[in-house]
Symmetry: C2
Subunit: 596 residues, 2 copies
């Protein structure tokens, strides 16, 4: 086993120089300033005490730096994972209790073990089963739920719940109780953060200043709001604040193991791991591509696994790579994972010395931070785009969106994944088939209903656009029998297998049955354009010896031998398509016929 | 709605003539003689009193004749379905109790409702998810379990259990208690039935007699054994007999409905319905094909649904089309479903007048009937054949076989179905891709590793042998980036889409990502041989406007325009493959290159 493969830091640590330390250090400072409010906010979102977020932003960063392969990914608590954590734990324990915190650590531990296990077993491909539409629907719905849940802090009302049907009616009932000073603080923060986004960035850009200044606005807002709340004594007037945070760092220790609870949390841990992995890898890949670097999915699994195990022993919560902080890290010039280590050190210093300053930090400001961050994730136009492209993908996206909003995070994602699979299977169970003919002047065969093609009266060419496997084996039999009944004059049926990527044992039996039936009708079956891997398999069966037909290398060759007259006349029309003048658009290349 | 569509009997009843009645009646007589011992035996196998089997062979036959589309299928209790019935009910109730019988009727009712529902909703395609290897593994394992369970009656020992680990050790313990007269009767029957099979049939054929005589040997054996047991008073010496069967027909009535029990039985009912449907349709189709008739799967669902509902109200058990009795019906010359009606009438007459004669029928003889019938179903060579053809299909078949033997019928089938799906998805998640080149003298492109082909130095042609959809979207990205890194000199990458039957929304995003990455490396992506349905979808997205490349109608056209030099020189070598002399075998058509 290659040791260096599992410890990517061995690639960059030996050559680490002082010149790289400077950009890494600067990036780390900016990321830390951004990470402090986010860590606090996402811990609160997960139903945990604020320090859990801070602890989750120290050891996990170091663990990821050791095992992860992305050079600029910044890990820590993120909004969606915190929402999933809360959704998994609130049905079991009351937020704020010791049991709830213990369960959060167990969840991080399970998630870490699952990710590490997937790394070792190379099961990263499991993440592919979260399709883009499902992820997109999930992210949008989660963002909406997060915004809704944060109205609790923004309005200063005791709003509880984790789905739309729980949150909306309660919000309407509780709205009259809103706390004015809290609302003013919250809305003021929202306005400031909104301004710090596009308008301020634009201003900075116009004056030639670095846009990173807009990135540390949330930290400045923190300082400002602490000063206002402390100065005016607003905490005594009912403005909810973060409160006392224990000073110093906790001693790392394994969370308490409880088999029963672990089994209950396993599905949530699996989903958190998959979602966290998919999100993290897509951020990591897009950043790596910008600098022509590569990340390795297996290393990412290992890095995120280590980060979650570290979060579990450090008293944190489930973590993953965050989009905004990674972009900030990248833009601020981070060169190596050492930036993450520096961030961790800066965060540790903050926790050791500056936590008393956070006592008067109003929760409404943190809520505003979250809302501004997640509103960017809401993308309803994507739903329309997906639906237009494919009803099936659109249905999966819509089901996920509604499932998450109405039933819950886990149920929604599972619904979307299940529906994606079912719709795919349903689709492949009745595959598209096309009777094809020769494009005049070329050796190419296309659908008779879409192109003006030449057909042979005695040879029927059928292209099946799907792998032949058990869900469609019987359907194939039925369709071919039907088709032959419609073409009584034919002597040969050539199955063009360019779209057949697999013939499984069930389909092989069906094809044998088809051969029998065609034979009784005086028709011989042939195959063409059978791909190498499919041919390899057929050679291991007795089919090729018994079926009586031939396997042609191309559909053209099949026709050239079975009905040479027709192909010759079709080729005589040479020069119109295959060798025609280069065409600029699609219209020339894909030329639908005028037939129905 | 077309009424005739749902009542296939309207096609043949109006034209029914006396000439057809004679062959139908003769066939019915032979089938009835065969059906009596089978009905009794399969009812006992299902853990039910013998009359349940007789009742299940009257009304259901008439119901099927009204709704089913096969002209010669003979329905009634069959071995595999009886085994499934016993497996579903024994964990809930003790065989022989009224609750057990009630549950069997409820199971038949549920099964009938499910089949009828599937007929109305046209869900017959669901049966395709039972792949051939799964069915084959299931049938073999079931047959072995049935043989093992029948040793109870053959040896006269109180053997109980429904899986191999339950049956085998108990058999060894109970073997010393075997009842000699029972064993002699049983083994004697086995020997006679074996002889009535191949040897006697051969004898008949050699002397020019009808082979149907061998089909009624079981009925003769019945008469003979009743005479022996009655004459020698063996029942008093401990030979288990069928005993008193109530005379007359029961009044049809709906079974008692119990929501809780119905929910418990639903999975078993679904599986029984699917397995029964698949078996019945495959028997029906192969018989119909012999006479150039057709059966309609939706009508078959309706027919079997009606038969099971009839079995439920008649005090029977779940039924389906049986293989051996349908073949006998066909061979005996049945022309229309009227043969089934005649069978039902003959059976009713038997139940009304002749049941007292069955009192002394020894159970060992029925066990011998079952064993001889199901031993024909054991096919272990199929496992080797499937395994050789495809490891994945072989694994599914083996898993089903072992699952049914070791864990149980339902668990085994579900395991097999789940494994089939998982292996398919796993396979499509890492699709086969081939770099292709032009076959000299043709416009056809094949894998560079299998054929001696011509490649362009600046155009890379890649064929992806799978639909592009979410499980493989990310894999595609990774593989293409790797591939491009191996070919630094290329300017164009043409994705040959002949094997791509679908590009879903996830894959579209991946392809867009690939276009971006290739662009930064100075490479333009093009597509070729995009199929109509895939093209229709792409036109509904913005991909075609933005991706900057072209969509070529064929791979040859792509090369002809992107690198005309190379295609011209490849075509100059004309005549060697495409227009070569007709070749008899495969060796000429699929010609592997000497390259690795």
């Amino acid at each position: 086993m290659n040791v260096r493969r599992w410890f990517p830091f061995m690639h960059w640590v030996p050559g680490y120089r002082r010149e790289t330390a400077l950009p890494d250090g600067l990036a780390a400072l900016i990321v830390t300033l951004m990470l402090i409010p986010q860590s606090l906010a996402y811990a609160l979102l997960a139903g945990l005490p604020p320090q859990a977020g801070l602890y989750a932003s120290i050891l996990p960063l170091i663990a990821y730096a050791l095992f992860g392969s992305s050079r600029t990914l910044a890990v820590g608590p993120v909004a969606v994972i915190s929402l999933m954590t809360a959704a998994a734990l609130t049905p079991l324990f009351a937020p704020g209790t010791a049991e709830y915190q213990g369960a959060a650590l167990l969840l991080a531990l399970l998630s870490g073990l699952l990710l590490a296990g997937m790394a070792v077993l190379r099961l990263g491909f499991l993440a592919s089963f979260l399709s883009h539409p499902v992820i997109s629907g999930f992210i949008t719905a989660s963002a909406l739920l997060i915004v809704l849940s944060q109205l609790r802090h923004l309005f200063g009302i005791p709003l509880q719940g984790s789905t739309l049907p729980e949150l909306l009616p309660r919000l309407l009932i509780l709205l009259p109780q809103l706390h004015m000073p809290t609302l003013i603080l919250g809305v003021g923060s929202l306005a400031l953060l909104w301004w710090a986004g596009a308008p301020f960035t634009e201003l900075l850009r116009r004056h030639g200043c670095s846009v990173t200044w807009s990135r540390i606005m949330p930290a400045l807002l923190l300082v400002l709001s602490i000063a206002v709340v402390g100065g005016l004594g607003l905490a005594q007037q009912g403005v909810a604040v973060v409160g006392e945070i224990p000073r110093g760092l906790p001693v790392p220790q394994l969370p308490e193991w409880d088999w029963m609870l672990a089994r209950q949390l396993l599905p949530a841990a699996l989903l958190i791991s998959l979602v966290g992995f998919v999100e993290s890898v897509s951020v990591g890949q897009s950043l790596a591509a910008r600098r022509r670097e590569r990340i390795d999915p297996d290393n990412e699994l290992a890095g995120l696994g280590a980060a979650n195990l570290a979060a579990a022993v450090a008293g944190g919560l489930p973590v993953t790579g965050g989009f905004s902080r990674s972009v900030v890290n990248f833009d601020a010039g981070a060169r190596t994972p050492m930036a993450g280590v520096f961030s961790a050190v800066a965060m540790a210093v903050g926790v050791l010395f500056f936590t008393p300053w956070l006592r008067d930090l109003p929760q409404a400001v943190l809520a505003a931070t979250i809302i501004v961050a997640v509103l960017k994730l809401v993308d309803l136009r994507s739903l329309r785009r997906t639906w237009r492209y494919s009803r099936q993908d659109g249905a999966a996206q819509l089901a996920t969106l509604l499932g998450v909003l109405l039933v819950g995070v886990e149920a929604g994602v599972l619904l979307g994944m299940g529906l994606s699979l079912l719709l795919f299977l349903w689709r492949t169970s009745r595959p598209h088939m096309a009777v094809v003919g020769q494009l005049p002047g070329s050796e190419h065969f296309r659908n008779v209903e879409r192109f003006e093609v030449v057909q042979s009266p005695k040879v029927l060419s059928l292209r099946v656009d799907e792998s032949l496997y058990f869900p469609n084996a019987r359907y194939l039999e039925e369709r071919i029998i039907e088709l032959v009944a419609q073409h009584p004059a034919i002597e040969h049926l050539v199955l063009m297998c360019s779209g057949v990527n697999l013939i499984d044992a069930s389909a092989l039996e069906s094809v044998e049955m088809i051969v029998e039936r065609l034979r009784t009708a005086g028709i011989q079956l042939h195959l063409s354009e059978v791909k190498g891997p499919v041919m390899d398999r057929l050679r291991r069966s007795e089919f090729l010896q018994h079926f009586g037909g031939r396997v042609f290398v191309s559909q053209f060759q099949a026709l050239a031998e079975l009905d040479p007259e027709v192909t010759r006349s079709a080729m005589a029309d040479a020069g119109t398509v295959a060798f025609g003048p280069p065409s600029g658009g699609l219209s020339d290349e894909i030329r639908p016929s005028t037939k129905a």
